[in-house]
């Protein structure tokens, strides 16, 4: 854990978070605090604002109101300090369809400033970890949805982020894929995670905290 984060306290601190889309509130008064090294599972029906919450924490959306602090950085003002420290796995795989899986990972490594030699070693390690080393040179457009998700998981952890923000990480994965992914993005010592899921049975048991979002209801942390 970086020293700055130890001093800063919780990995995530949210108070009275609001996000509106036009006149419609997607999130209305969310409060939560997540300690570094803990897992938070976010549950709720479709349209409850789970993905919106995750995108705000990832600095991809601006909150409409309330206070948000992630890894000691206040959002949205200090979002620039946070980039590069988050691993985000969204609904979209964030992969270019005309590049191969390996080329996508190389592109990601350049954006994160990973030195070429280290990047190649890391890419090989991750491709093995997600079981994609044999299909890594095929264009993403030619891969199945599950294979894209595996590459996407590798992309998410490529830069060894301090915080993982995972939106339906199991989607499209088979049993083997889920097991392989668990090694990279599952709960582990020192790994801080926020997981949005529709599969509470699988993830709730592993969570240190559960946030339940409802439509038009106050968010509840347990």
């Amino acid at each position: 854990m970086p020293p700055a984060q130890e001093k800063a306290g919780p990995a995530i601190s949210v108070a009275g978070l609001r996000r509106d889309y036009g006149d419609r509130p997607a999130l209305d008064g969310v409060d939560l605090e997540l300690a570094a090294g803990s897992s938070l599972v976010v549950l709720g029906p479709n349209g409850a604002g789970k993905t919106t919450l995750l995108r705000i924490l990832a600095t991809l959306l601006r909150p409409s109101g309330g206070e948000v602090s992630v890894l000691g950085c206040s959002l949205p003002d200090e979002a620039w300090k946070l980039r590069g420290r988050i691993g985000y796995l969204g609904h979209e795989p964030l992969l270019y369809r005309d590049l191969s899986g390996r080329e996508n990972l190389r592109f990601g490594s350049r954006l994160y400033g990973i030195e070429r030699g280290a990047a190649e070693a890391r890419i090989e390690e991750l491709l093995r970890a997600v079981g994609m080393e044999r299909r890594a040179d095929e264009r993403v457009a030619e891969l199945s949805a599950g294979m894209r998700q595996r590459i996407s998981i590798a992309r998410c952890v490529l830069h060894e982020p301090e915080l993982l923000l995972l939106d339906e990480p199991d989607s499209n994965l088979d049993a083997e894929g889920r097991e392989l992914a668990r090694g990279l993005i599952g709960p582990g010592p020192g790994r801080t995670r926020v997981v949005v899921t529709h599969d509470p049975e699988r993830h709730e048991a592993e969570a240190d905290q559960v946030l339940r979002l409802g439509i038009g209801e106050r968010a509840v942390v347990s």
């Binding site: 601006r62 969204g90 964030l94 270019y96 990601g108 994160y112 400033g113």
Partner: protein
């Protein structure tokens, strides 16, 4: 923060690799330009052009061909999550503007490499003006790339993207076209190139490039916000 030149090279290389693999923009731009020359040739019923008419035909064709490429410039970022990937990375976001503009300059240069000789075969009796024309093409490409990248990044999130790009780009490119045609006209005049006010028009093109380059640099970060 990742050094800007590393991120710039990564984004530019990614775009060029994708274009080489899919050929989504360049062949369409070139085909459009060549077809337009054919239309002009038969529409004007002339086998040779010179001066302002030659200049006008060349630049109108190149501008409309460029619109095709500009329309597609950010499509992969929009449809494949590239905007999010870049917004999550520890990079100066204006690097994306610079890399996309550089990619567009390369597309336009490739387009001109194919179409300007065809234009010369179709319409010019004397190709002596093509040498100095390179400077005009280069400066106009830079301006078109700066404006086009800016407009394309704004329009890409709209469903009316194909309509918005020409509607906004064409009025903004009028000063660029006036300067480009003004610089090209004496180069393609009957009896060989002359350099009447050539330098002045090049300076106008340079000024346009500078203004739109700076505007793009200043506002691009805000355009990437949600």
């Amino acid at each position: 923060m990742t050094p800007s030149r590393t991120a710039f090279a990564a984004i530019l290389a990614k775009d060029l690799r994708s274009e080489l693999r899919t050929l989504q923009s360049l062949p369409a731009m070139a085909l459009f330009a060549v077809t337009t020359f054919v239309v002009f040739r038969f529409g004007l019923d002339r086998t040779s052009l010179s001066g302002s008419l030659a200049s006008g035909v060349l630049w109108a064709t190149l501008l409309f061909a460029a619109v095709l490429g500009i329309n597609r410039l950010f499509v992969s970022e929009r449809e494949e999550g590239g905007f999010d990937a870049i917004r999550l990375a520890p990079i100066d976001r204006t690097v994306l503007f610079a890399a996309k503009a550089a990619a567009l300059v390369i597309y336009l240069a490739a387009l001109e490499l194919v179409t300007v000789p065809i234009f010369a075969i179709f319409f010019l009796e004397d190709a002596a003006g093509l040498g100095p024309l390179v400077a005009v093409l280069l400066l106009a490409d830079l301006g078109l790339a700066a404006t086009g990248t800016l407009i394309s990044s704004m329009a890409v999130n709209s469903r009316a993207r194909d309509l918005l790009v020409p509607l906004v780009l064409l009025p903004l490119s009028i000063p660029l076209m006036i300067a480009a045609t003004g610089a090209t006209e004496p180069l393609l005049s009957l009896g060989g190139p002359s350099y009447d006010r050539f330098g002045t028009w090049l300076m106008v093109l340079g000024l346009y490039d500078l203004i739109f380059g700076l505007v793009g640099y200043a506002v691009f970060d805000f355009l990437l916000e949600d």
